[in-house]
């Protein structure tokens, strides 16, 4: 019968896939003799997936590194929350979500004595507030950077001294701030003289952002968008990450980067080990490797963000460091993004939605 | 080829009984027309014989074998649909060969049989064409050839001529009859066209509302219709009441007209309408407020009857057809 044949065909197809799926798994399970696999959640093209580094680490530790890419900080939380034991070994939460991850018990408590390079960190990163809960440490800072002013050096000769340049009608149509509620609110707070991490008057911030809105060419969402618009001379000044600005500069773009006197937004990315990791020892080795002097120097000097490793930081050419906001002075001007509760995030997000819908 | 016997065949669609306890027995090699208005159940009957519908009750026998549980593709039945249903992606040849290929015959056997059947329907020069490149009549022949190629035990033709124009239809009727006589296959022919039914068949089954009203040879059914429905559906008829209250029918051509009063005149009336159509002339006569139709062969040119004229109607007692009570 036709029907029977089709039905059985369908069943066969389903079965084949089920088997293939199971087959894939059993292969993994059987592979206990095979090198262990370390699953790393990070941004794509963000240091740890550098092919040379991965190859060297794999060879040295007889293991395999698998990268899973995240598409936003919150989405990393989703990944951690929906992961099964062993799905994820190490991940890169930043300080805004770190306490959420720690409070939900998604990260393992760390023993820094297992990290030979921990002592080389700048002191301030050894005691990064968000990494701790009840005196226990759950993550190790890796890199830091700023979201500050990137400008076209052909059009703007002197480094802007204030973030208020992003509110300056003189540059109307040549400005691009980021489509991100956190950056937007903090930026407006800096201009208004409020505490960027605890703004007192959200209504004023909203009004300020609405006032600023028509000055923008666009709100950029991805680094790709910004770099293309900048290179295409569509945007002359905007909010940008220090790392990407450095990279673009090295690539020959006429881009200048400055943390202005009134400050800008700072961030710290940290490594944590996921609860349920099957290879915690390997995870420690991995973290130790990426906070090593060698790794940190290599990356920071080739367009990466700023190092947390003091030995690495001191090797970097001070002129270069200053040009991409890695210097001490810039560091001291930054308002580092802090953890925000869900309610705060929700309020800020809604504020930003209202600005955009205005 | 086979004797076909239908016993108590019944089919219901929901509340509707579309075929109601039908009994027919057909000897080998007969050409049977199933005649009836649309919606009378004739197509459903045919589809049950073909195996596309399962009867709710009753049985179908090919010779001694009950086929109710035999699927359509095992019944060895040739079919021709009104739409012909030629396979559009196959050539004439391939269409005809299709049924033979299902029978796992050798290529030589198939080729020989295809050639033979295509010759029979005079389609040799078109055998490489696709259906859409053929005219309606040609498609019809291919459909017939395809059905005949498998040497079916039974051939079912479903309104297969009605898509053709009148002239072509008459031609095809004759040709069909010839082909069927040669192949001696038992044939069921479904139609709503009484003329076609009479021209083609050995036997006519008149259906109405799911039941068989009457069956018999064309002569029997025409000359001796059992009831008003059959009488009026097959040919034309005038209906009268006799004094004892029974009703009877008289065919228009059996009525004699005369201008003068004569012995045995049964009715008198006034001519209200005359139609001349070459071989016959028809008169509509108003008798006691009833229209009576009367047809005359134009054996010689007559002219004497005019519109508005008073005429007398006469017919033989033999021409009166007794009708069963409704």
């Amino acid at each position: 019968m036709k029907i029977k044949t089709l039905l059985s065909l369908f069943l066969v197809v389903i079965l084949v896939f089920a088997l293939a799926a199971c087959g894939g798994q059993t292969a993994e399970e059987e592979g206990t003799d095979e090198p262990a696999t370390l699953t790393v959640v990070n941004w794509k093209d963000y240091g740890s997936d550098n092919a040379d580094f991965v190859a060297a680490f794999e060879a040295e530790n007889n293991c395999k590194i698998v990268h899973v890419y995240m598409s936003s900080e919150e989405e990393l939380l989703t990944k951690l929350k929906t992961a099964k034991d062993g799905d994820i070994d190490v991940c890169l939460p930043n300080c805004t979500i770190l306490p959420s991850a720690i409070n939900d018990g998604l990260l393992l408590e760390l023993d820094t004595t297992k990290l030979t390079n921990f002592d080389s960190l700048y002191d301030r990163f050894k005691v990064q507030e968000e990494s701790f809960k009840d005196g226990k440490m759950y993550s190790v800072p890796w890199v830091w950077g700023s979201t500050a002013i990137a400008y076209n050096t052909d059009e703007i000769a002197a480094p802007p001294s204030s973030v208020s340049i992003l509110f300056d009608p003189e540059y109307a149509g040549k400005i691009a701030i980021r489509d991100d509620f956190n950056d937007a609110v903090m930026l407006a707070a800096i201009v208004l003289g409020q505490d960027p991490n605890n703004p007192s008057d959200l209504d004023a911030i909203k009004a300020k952002l609405i006032e600023q809105k028509p000055l923008n060419k666009t709100y950029w969402k991805t680094g790709d968008e910004f770099s293309k618009l900048f290179a295409g001379n569509q945007v002359a000044v905007g909010l940008m990450w220090s790392g990407q600005a450095a990279f673009m500069k090295q690539d020959g773009q006429p881009i200048g980067f400055v943390v202005p006197e009134d400050g800008a937004i700072g961030w710290v990315d940290t490594w944590g080990i996921a609860k349920g990791s099957q290879n915690p020892d390997l995870a420690y080795k991995f973290i130790d490797a990426v906070i090593s002097e060698e790794f940190q120097y290599d990356w920071a000097s080739t367009g990466g963000p700023a190092p947390v490793n003091k030995d690495a930081g001191e090797q970097i050419d001070p002129v270069y460091a200053a040009s991409c906001g890695m210097d001490e002075e810039s560091l001291n001007r930054l308002y580092f993004m802090q953890y925000r509760t869900d309610d705060v995030k929700k309020a800020w997000n809604e504020l930003w939605t209202e600005v955009k819908a205005n | 080829m086979a004797n076909i016997k239908l016993e108590n065949l019944t089919k219901r669609f929901g509340e509707n009984t579309v075929v109601d306890r039908v009994n027919i027995e057909i000897p080998n090699g007969t050409l049977v027309s199933i005649l009836g208005p649309s919606g009378c159940g004739k197509t459903t009957l045919l589809r049950m014989i073909a195996g596309f519908e399962t009867p709710d009750e009753g049985s179908i026998f090919f010779d001694q074998d009950s086929v109710v549980n035999v699927p359509a593709n095992k019944r060895n039945i040739g079919m021709v649909f009104q739409s012909y249903a030629l396979f559009p992606h196959m050539t004439v040849e391939e269409n005809v060969a299709y049924g033979l290929q299902q029978r796992k015959l050798s290529k030589e056997e198939i080729d020989a049989r295809v050639k033979q059947v295509i010759d029979t329907v005079h389609m040799k020069e078109f055998q490489k064409r696709k259906p859409k490149q053929l005219s309606g009549g040609q498609q019809q022949r291919v459909a017939l050839a395809r059905a005949l190629a498998i040497s079916p035990r039974l051939l079912l033709l479903d309104e297969c001529l009605s898509a053709l124009d009148k002239k072509l239809r008459v031609e095809m009727q004759t040709e069909l009859r010839k082909i069927l006589e040669e192949s001696k296959v038992t044939t069921f022919f479904v139609t709503h066209d009484q003329e076609e039914a009479m021209t083609l068949s050995d036997f006519i089954v008149v259906m109405n509302k799911g039941i068989i009203e009457q069956m018999g040879t064309p002569l029997e059914v025409y000359e001796k219709p059992k009831n008003k429905f059959v009488a009026s559906f097959l040919g034309k008829a005038n209906f009268f009441q006799s004094e004892d209250g029974t009703s009877f029918a008289v065919r228009p051509e059996k009525i004699h007209l005369s201008a003068e009063e004569q012995a045995g005149a049964r009715q008198e009336g006034v001519i209200t309408f005359i139609t001349y159509s070459g071989n016959i002339t028809s008169y509509t006569i108003e008798c006691d407020g009833e229209a009576v139709l009367c047809e005359k062969q134009n054996v010689q040119i007559r002219e004497n009857l005019k519109k508005g004229q008073k005429v007398f109607l006469r017919w033989d007692k033999d021409s009166e057809i007794e009708l069963a009570d409704e």
Binding site: E74, T78, Y219, G232, K345, N349 | -
Partner: protein, 275 residues
């Protein structure tokens, strides 16, 4: 026989039920939960959506955008489908393939290519300047116009396909019959061809309008500061804040709107569907 044939629909239905309906029920449950973590059933996500003018405003903007995209797609697609079905002979397969080929590229990459093409000083701008059509900058990128262009580009080929398939079923002999009855070509078109192709048009409208409502990539990238639509709000709820409950609620409101408009549309379609 009929009963058995019915079984043929089951594999699809089972796949849909197991891999779409059941999972979505979980999401539906989310939409009725408070994000504060308490487990009770609440309507607050829905009331929040309907009581805040900003969401209604964005919904309105989304609908207007989607309508514009649908209408423009229809204007482009119908004649093209008509020409393919009725005028091109051997060419139609080639045209069909050419219409589908661009979809082998990634949606994001296509959108970024529009960005490059439409930007001031970009290809289009330079071209128009050099032929003297405009002076200065074009200013079309980062407007609703650019969003509509991007969305029409992304969706109109599907409409071409559905309309083409419907038109192909319209028998040419009907057109001949109509003109033999003395109808002009225009009249034949409006009284015969158009009604008979309506099912395809209705499907085409659905296949463009419905996904347009939930889209976020094109508006975000091409729409500039005013590129916020309901789709981007949903995206933000899931990616920027842990707002699954509210995000799910918006998605289901959107879904309800889709159901309503689809029911209305299929009524229209059924009126023309004589089979």
């Amino acid at each position: 026989m009929k009963k058995k044939k019915k079984l043929l629909t089951f594999p699809s239905i089972i796949v849909l039920t197991v891999f779409a309906i059941l999972p979505l029920i979980i999401m539906l449950v989310y939409s009725f939960q408070s994000d504060s973590g308490s487990s009770g059933v609440t309507l607050e996500n829905y009331t929040n959506f309907f009581l805040k003018s900003v969401y209604l405003k964005l919904t309105y903007r989304t609908i207007i955008n989607s309508l514009a995209v649908t209408i423009i797609s229809l204007i482009i697609s119908y004649p093209l489908a008509y020409f393919m079905a009725k005028k091109f002979k051997g060419l139609k397969n080639i045209v069909m393939i050419l219409i589908l080929i661009p979809f082998f590229t990634n949606q994001l990459v296509r959108v970024y290519s529009w960005l490059i093409f439409l930007q001031d000083g970009g290809v289009l701008n330079s071209f128009l300047q050099s032929v003297g059509l405009i002076e200065g900058s074009l200013g079309i990128l980062f407007t609703q116009g650019a969003v509509v262009i991007g969305l029409v580009h992304a969706f109109f080929p599907y409409m071409v396909i559905t309309i083409y398939l419907a038109l192909e079923r319209v028998d040419n002999s009907l057109l001949e019959a109509s003109s033999s009855l003395g109808a002009s070509k225009v009249r034949t078109f409006f009284q015969v061809v158009l009604p008979l192709s309506m099912p395809g048009v209705v499907t085409g409208i659905m296949i463009v309008f419905v996904p347009c409502l939930g889209t976020f990539v094109e508006p975000r990238i091409l729409g500039g500061v005013n590129g916020t639509v309901i789709g981007t709000v949903i995206e933000d709820q899931f990616f920027e804040i842990y707002g699954w409950n509210f995000g799910a609620a918006i998605a289901f409101v959107l879904f309800a709107m889709v159901i309503i408009s689809m029911t209305g549309l299929s009524r229209i379609g059924r009126r023309y569907d004589n089979e």
